[in-house]
């Protein structure tokens, strides 16, 4: 049921988040309140002594970034399964060790496939 459990061990993290947020907002707010505002056209140029910008800042990214991100997600999830396994390794023993070896071998097939398909080559 929601509202029956209080994670009191996480109070330091809450304080940390509150202080970090207050610091970020506070720094911007104080700067906004106290700095001088005397704009003139030369000051508002993107680069004071450079070229005028040409074209749009947004360009189409290469599809290779997608493969990198996707492989990152997959191996991130694999690492997530390793955490609880490592924590209970002394209790679940050899059986879970074999289990994890099978798990890693199945993912190794994908890794070898990605390697052979040159997914890690940028060119």
């Amino acid at each position: 049921m929601p509202g029956t459990f209080t994670p009191s061990a996480y109070l330091p993290i809450l304080i940390f988040l509150v202080v970090a947020t207050a610091f970020g907002i506070g720094a911007l707010l104080i700067g906004e309140l106290f700095r001088l505002k005397r704009p003139y056209p030369e000051k508002l140029m993107p680069y004071e002594s450079g070229n005028e910008p040409v074209g749009e800042p947004r360009i189409r990214f290469s599809v290779r970034f997608y493969i990198i991100a996707m492989l990152f997600v997959v191996f991130d999830v694999e690492a997530v399964f390793l955490y609880p396994w490592a924590v209970v390794f002394d209790r679940v023993g050899f059986f879970a060790f074999i289990e994890m070896i099978i798990f890693i071998i199945i993912l190794l097939v994908g890794y070898v496939y990605a390697w052979k398909k040159e997914a890690f080559v940028w060119d």
């Binding site: 947004r58 189409r60 493969i67 996707m70 997530v80 990605a114 997914a119």
Partner: protein, 170 residues
């Protein structure tokens, strides 16, 4: 009392942030609001005594999946979406669907009976620590779903490479 207050805060803020995600015109802004929403969902998990899931929410969703979303947004290079309307005009159809979903949810909640509480009480989890309890159940009772998870991840790897890496140089 305090935990109910926090639950109310998380519930309200998650709804507001989800609305911000679907209504912003700039897709990059949507993704940034989604990041904040993922953190609030992690906080909600903490108050449901699901410490490990909360950590995974931050590591996998806020860390990896959000990067994937951001790359896809940059990949598509949505320039027209910034000008055009995001929603199609037929709001009566949307209203009907939303109302029927809400009604079916209320009907389902009225017949909801909480099951008998299992052996894993809050006191036991606190004594054993959350990750140990989870690991012990996952790697003994649920070993088959765990191995299935590796096959799903394998499909994800192969699918991504087949979709995005068409040509193979000989």
């Amino acid at each position: 009392m305090i935990s109910q207050l926090f639950f109310g805060y998380f519930a309200a803020v998650i709804i507001i942030l989800s609305l911000l995600v679907v209504t912003r015109k700039n897709p990059v802004h949507s993704v940034m609001w989604m990041l904040l929403m993922f953190f609030h969902i992690a906080g909600m998990y903490l108050f449901l005594n699901a410490e490990f899931i909360a950590a995974i929410q931050v590591i996998v969703y806020a860390g990896a999946i959000l990067v994937l979303f951001l790359f896809v947004v940059l990949l598509l290079n949505l320039r027209e979406e910034l000008q055009t309307n995001r929603f199609i005009g037929s709001w009566p159809a949307g209203l009907v669907i939303a109302a029927s979903l809400l009604l079916s949810m209320i009907a389902a909640l009225r017949s909801f009976v909480p099951g008998p509480s299992g052996p894993y009480t809050i006191a036991l989890i606190e004594k054993e620590t959350h990750t140990r309890v989870l690991g012990q159940v996952l790697y003994t009772e649920y070993l088959f779903p765990f191995e299935i998870a590796s096959l799903i991840l394998l499909v994800a790897i192969i699918g991504a490479i087949v979709l995005a890496k068409k040509k193979v140089r000989s």
